[in-house]
C-alpha cells in the first residue's frame, strides 16, 4: 500500500511546493511582469496531478493485492468462500490502543485475524480444541489507523472462509 501512496503524496507535495514558489516572483522580476516560469510550472503541476491521480487509482488494487497475500499466509493460496464467519468490530473506535473484536464461525478449526495496516498485520490465531463450547472468541487489539480488518477461518473440510470489517480509528494505537 505504501508503494501506491508514495507517488500520490509526492505528487501533491510537489504541487504544493510549486504553488508556493510560483506565488513569489523570482529575483529581478515583478509579480506583474511576464513570468516565463509560470507556464513551465503549470505543466509540471499538471504532470504531478496526473501522477497523483494514477497513484490514487492504483490504491485499492494494491491494497487488495497486499491483503490477498496476507490471507494466503493462512490459506496457502487456497481460495476462500462465503460462510458463517462473523467478524464483529465497532464501526468507530476512538482509541486504537484497544479495539474489541469478536470472531465467530461455527464449526471452524481455527480463525486468524489480520489488521493489514499495522506494522505487524497478523494479530492472533485461535485454535479451537475438542472442548471448545463454540468457535467464538473476543479479544482486544491495536489498530494503527482506519482500516479493514480481515478474518479467515479454516474449516474441517479444509476450506477457508473470509470476512472483513472496516473500523474507523479516531486516534491510532501506538502499535503492533
Amino acid at each position: 500500500m505504501a508503494a501506491a501512496i508514495t507517488p500520490a503524496r509526492a505528487g501533491l507535495d510537489l504541487l504544493h511546493n510549486r504553488l508556493m514558489i510560483s506565488s513569489k516572483p523570482p529575483r529581478g522580476q515583478t509579480a506583474y511582469g511576464p513570468d516565463m516560469n509560470r507556464s513551465t510550472i503549470s505543466r509540471r503541476n499538471l504532470l504531478a496531478v496526473g501522477a497523483a491521480g494514477a497513484g490514487l487509482a492504483l490504491l485499492p488494487l494494491a491494497a487488495s493485492a497486499e491483503s490477498d497475500a496476507l490471507v494466503a499466509q493462512f490459506t496457502g493460496g487456497a481460495p476462500t468462500r462465503e460462510g458463517p464467519l462473523r467478524l464483529e468490530a465497532p464501526e468507530l473506535a476512538e482509541n486504537g490502543n484497544s479495539v474489541s473484536v469478536t470472531l465467530d464461525c461455527p464449526g471452524a478449526e481455527a480463525i486468524r485475524l489480520y489488521a493489514p495496516a499495522n506494522p505487524n498485520p497478523e494479530v492472533c490465531t485461535f485454535h479451537f480444541g475438542p472442548l471448545a463450547g463454540s468457535q467464538r472468541a473476543t479479544t482486544r487489539i491495536r489498530m494503527a489507523e482506519t482500516m479493514e480488518l480481515i478474518a479467515v477461518a479454516r474449516m474441517p473440510d479444509g476450506g477457508f472462509i473470509e470476512a472483513r470489517a472496516r473500523v474507523e480509528v479516531t486516534a491510532g494505537g501506538c502499535v503492533g
Binding site: 490502543n97 484497544s98 479495539v99 489488521a115 499495522n118 506494522p119 505487524n120 498485520p121 497478523e122 494479530v123 492472533c124 490465531t125 485461535f126 485454535h127 479451537f128 480444541g129 475438542p130 472442548l131 471448545a132 463450547g133 463454540s134 467464538r136 472468541a137 473476543t138 479479544t139 482486544r140 487489539i141 491495536r142 494505537g173 501506538c174 502499535v175 503492533g176
Partner: protein
C-alpha cells in the same frame, strides 16, 4: 523483564449442568511491548509480549491462541468451553522471556 506482575485473572462459573457451555473471561497484566516503540534517546524498545495463551479442561484442549504484537496491552480473552463433568480449567500465558504465567479454576456439575 522481572518487573512484570501478570496477576492472571479468570472468570469461570463455579457450577454447570452436564455438557453445559460456559463463558470464560481471562485477563493478564502485560505491557505487550510490540518492538516498534523507541526510548527517549532513540534506542528501540525490544519486543516483549505474551505470544501464546492456552486453556485446557483436565487434559483436553479448549483453546490454543497464537498471539502477535498487535494484540492490545493487558490481553483480554473471552471464549466458551463445554463442561462434560466436574473438573479443573487450567490457563497458561507464555511470555517471550520464557516465563509461563498459570492459573486454574475448579468447576463442579450441579
Amino acid at each position: 523483564m522481572s518487573d512484570i506482575d501478570p496477576r492472571p485473572r479468570v472468570r469461570v462459573p463455579a457450577t454447570a449442568a452436564p455438557g453445559e457451555v460456559v463463558l470464560i473471561r481471562t485477563l493478564v497484566n502485560h505491557p505487550m511491548e510490540n518492538g516498534q516503540r523507541r526510548e527517549a534517546d532513540g534506542s528501540p524498545v525490544p519486543r516483549h509480549i505474551i505470544h501464546r495463551f492456552q486453556c485446557h479442561f483436565d487434559a483436553e484442549l479448549v483453546l490454543d491462541m497464537a498471539i502477535e504484537p498487535s494484540l492490545a496491552a493487558n490481553p483480554f480473552i473471552e471464549f466458551e468451553a463445554a463442561v462434560p463433568h466436574s473438573g479443573r480449567f487450567r490457563f497458561s500465558w507464555h511470555d517471550d522471556n520464557g516465563a509461563i504465567y498459570e492459573t486454574a479454576a475448579e468447576i463442579s456439575i450441579a
